[in-house]
Symmetry: C2
């Protein structure tokens, strides 16, 4: 089945890395096959979900035996696109921005922050975790020239829309927005809102609901 007609589903994308990490550990323990039941038990979810997800990414198992672990790992790796490298730029190099630049998890998943931008002139020219920081007025040209398609916004909310406009002008197609504010962008540009506090409220509400 060609990639293009596979369905795209956020819950699936969230679960696959969890399967992957468990499969890696199972493989390192010498196992070669595993049942959906076993994966599900370890992750505390329903086995049917695991079977459905395997089906969605095109992995096939064998009745009575389960799934071949290396195959399943490869299918997840392929579906998640961890083999391709995607380059990112980030605008806003305060404490959150710096933490993102310093985060090691990007590389393993096929992402690389190639430049940072900040409106504080004293930051221009410095390196954070090996990434060069530029003044913000260099952003549009640099992004155009390097054909970067994903931009991270980690600036105060009042500055976020202006940065988003610049990113759109620079040809960015996807914005990962850490500012708690709605951005106006053309329909061709996708915004992934990362409102940390909202996640925390969802946790809090979930706790009250549970009680």
């Amino acid at each position: 089945m060609p990639q293009s007609i596979r369905t795209f589903s956020a819950p699936l994308i969230r679960r696959l890395p969890e399967y992957h990490s468990y499969l890696e550990s199972a493989l390192s323990q010498g196992l070669t096959t595993i049942s959906s039941t076993a994966i599900a038990a370890h992750l505390n979810i329903d086995p049917i979900v695991v079977r459905k997800d395997c089906e969605a990414i095109g992995a096939v198992g064998r009745p009575r035996i389960g799934f071949d672990i290396p195959n399943l790992i490869a299918a997840i790796y392929e579906y998640m696109g961890w083999g391709n490298l995607d380059e990112l730029v980030i605008v806003g190099c305060g404490s959150l921005g710096s933490a993102l630049i310093g985060y090691n998890g990007f590389k393993k998943r096929g992402f690389k922050i190639i430049a940072g931008f900040d409106n504080d002139p004293s930051k221009a020219g410095i390196l954070i975790n090996g990434v060069s920081i530029f003044p913000i007025n260099k952003m549009v040209n640099l992004v155009k020239r390097l054909h970067v398609e994903i931009g991270i916004i980690a600036v105060p909310p009042q500055a976020a829309q202006e940065i988003a406009d610049m990113m759109v002008e620079a040809g960015i197609k996807g914005i990962w927005n850490f500012s708690p504010c709605a951005l106006k962008v053309p329909k061709t540009v996708i915004v992934q809102q990362e409102d940390l506090i909202t996640s925390l409220v969802i946790l809090q509400k979930g706790m009250k609901h549970e009680r």
Copy 2:
């Protein structure tokens, strides 16, 4: 309608703060009422969604006129619980943990980080953004004594399960987990997984889907 039988829905919780921020700006421009259509147009969503959400939080509008802005703001404030103060502790004060401790957005939404813990002895006793950092072996007692119910985990993945176990022992009921790994906890404890890279992959997949 009492709080307890209102439905709990994550998408709703995500949208309400966006309404709130727009309502605040409309109010500061001297408006006193607003239609769901106007809110929806500004946020690029369907007006029906806005009306449904208003209904869910118990706000009532008037045909032809719309919703009273102060009332709607109050209803959101109440539903989100921004008036109550919830105390948090954080374990792991590296760059991500420090960025969270330094983040200003908690206060406005009724959250406060009251202590940080780290296994690096050189950090014991220091202040980050006014928050005291303690050695990790003080965590269980302090959390028990202060009856803190929410814990943040911002440690490397290989240490996350151990910290989660300690938190459960300390009586924590909700864990906000920034480590990319599944945690095993009793059913009475809720884990909100905050896998940053997964959000980025969802953005990336959305872009490919769009194209």
